[in-house]
Symmetry: C2
Amino acid sequence: MKIPPVKGTRDFYPPDMVVRNWIIDGWKKVSVRNGFEEYDGPIFEYLKMFQIKSGDEIVEQLFSLKDRGGRDLAIRPEITPTLARMINQQINSLPKPIKWFSVPRLCRAERPQKGRLREFFQWNIDIIGIDDVLADAEVIFTACDYLQDVGLTSDDIVVRISSREMLAALLETIGIAESELELLYAVLDKRSKLSDNVFEEMLAEQVADENKRNKIVELMGVESIGQLGDCLQLSDTAKKSVDELQRLFELLDTMGVADFCVFDIGVVRGLAYYTGIVFEIYDRGGKLRAIGGGGRFDNLLKQFGGPDIAATGFGIGDSVLEILLEEKGLLQKQLPSPQPDYFVAYVDKVYRKAAVKLAMKLRAAGFAANFSYKSAKLSKQLNKASEQNARSCLIIGSEIENDQLIVKNMESGEQELIKFGKFLQQCGIELK
Amino acid sequence: MKIPPVKGTRDFYPPDMVVRNWIIDGWKKVSVRNGFEEYDGPIFEYLKMFQIKSGDEIVEQLFSLKDRGGRDLAIRPEITPTLARMINQQINSLPKPIKWFSVPRLCRAERPQKGRLREFFQWNIDIIGIDDVLADAEVIFTACDYLQDVGLTSDDIVVRISSREMLAALLETIGIAESELELLYAVLDKRSKLSDNVFEEMLAEQVADENKRNKIVELMGVESIGQLGDCLQLSDTAKKSVDELQRLFELLDTMGVADFCVFDIGVVRGLAYYTGIVFEIYDRGGKLRAIGGGGRFDNLLKQFGGPDIAATGFGIGDSVLEILLEEKGLLQKQLPSPQPDYFVAYVDKVYRKAAVKLAMKLRAAGFAANFSYKSAKLSKQLNKASEQNARSCLIIGSEIENDQLIVKNMESGEQELIKFGKFLQQCGIELK
């Protein structure tokens, strides 16, 4: 019987795995040089972990299951709740600040479409314990550092930045109560994907007062931090978060990534737990879904039973990133191409045993070495060596009677007859 | 609210992640040098995928779930069914032999105990398309190659090898029908964990005839391939598989891993799909659960709707391996210890911006560089640099007025005053 893979999941054949490894290894490398340490949690957690603060959209998309004891579990749709749980567990022994990264496999039961899958990998970095936009700036820098590392420039990528704290203060000025914010954020977050009419209809469902609605629409049209004061009388709280946002942009300039960054009051983020600076990363062309996003979530650890501690971070998925790199012609040319050190060929099947023995000796010494399972003509074996892009081909034939083998350099085509012992010595293999 | 992790799963804090990465990176390195290419599948598959041939024990331990369309899915408890599915999908375009490896995360709802978890990682290698014990030998060699690579010797490890094909032929000689084999295998597989009495009771449930039972007990007591003929009259089929087993041991000798390998007729393997050579890897001390095991599964691809094609491979888990490496004192000393290239310190908070700028420049150029978020005393920052094991500490102070900084070698303690431009040039950073 033939069974297909589940819709929205991917099979990683070796060429796909090379891509996935290259992307994830890049994430790891850039995380480490930016001072982050890797962590991971289990693939599933108690269901309620994700019902606390992940936001309704994510809760609806959970793959939930029961264990044999009847407990409700779910495959993780994001890793931030696990991060909060793990940090809270060891909060007293972990030196601060905590700079951690992870590259988890995540699952969400979304409708699969371009750049959106039911199973994907997501690069997460977080700084816990720094209540200063310097940490937000460093998080944004780290994202840009990776994107530049793989060849993307500020012509390709834009980081749209705002502040939820500021937005809350501005909406308060307009007369929106704190209790109304969460539902309103959900509408504002969808604004860029909606027509003006549909947006205003959805807004009317949340905000009855037309005057307030008009003010909100006007506010969402603001294009620079400077314009905010023209639109509204800034409260002291609003001023404080506007200043903070300005300092963030200065820091991003100091860090050399200002070209990537713009202010965008429309960035709200779908997840419920953000409290301060928020940002989303897009392709400049604007044709693809978000590459990633993040922000400050100062209340989350507390909500998971931990202390009141500052936190900021981001998540970048692999699917949209891969599509963009492919479109920009940056993917294939940067992938590593494997090169076996040796292909051990044999002139006749009587030499196969000697060839196998040599190949295994080379492998045990750390070299990549292949051989032919079937006794084929030497020319066929040489073709195989060439196909596999082997650096050298070792040929075992009658010369073995004189304790010799032929070493063929596959690039130059040069051949050399050499004593077995001498060859092994050259490979750093001790003779027993 | 505080939520614990699910029983039988692990949180990987950074020090645990270093261990996990070291183990998995070792698996990957040894796979590549032995000529295997990496693949992976989704974390869940259709439930029925695992009901086909995984064996009852595994089916009972599935974490199953429903997607929103009501389809029955399960988190993978092993990757071999996925391997069969993926290879069958591309059977015509994949060059043979197919040598693939994977390091999947797997979940089984077993009762957690030492070396057995509900979530673990398993190194899988498989050779598809070689109907010759040379492939079985190469698979066993690859396992030994890794075990030797991490410092384990044949004093620590034993690979117990048998043949299901041979066992089937021998049991047939005793008078066991083919249809009775699967249930009997399950009993024989448990023998080493049972007392003689309990084993014989369980055996009696499967085999009513006392005479046959005695023959089976006698057969299971055979300690060498040579003794088999003394115990039973070998059929032609049995002779053929005995010869094959003998050739396997010769090949393992040629490959240099004979010291690790012994014949053990008691090795049957729990999984239902094995057809020929089977093996299990144990610590010599015999105190731990199996480190891994594998064998030939020539019918599996066909059972998944594919062609009749030969296949052999193994799986080695991370939990028992880690316990053994720890017990042998081989773990901690081999773990990589991260070393940031630079720690950028600043004498006063007025220089913080310059320090941050320099740190980011260094990171973007590929160096690992840290800095202090808070303006602390220089001595405190130097302590931090030392704690983090930084190679050099860069000190930004009043010398910046002369376009200079101090480079302190953290090992020798030597300090050097150097021009910014010259330092950046030494780091290969272009001046703009």
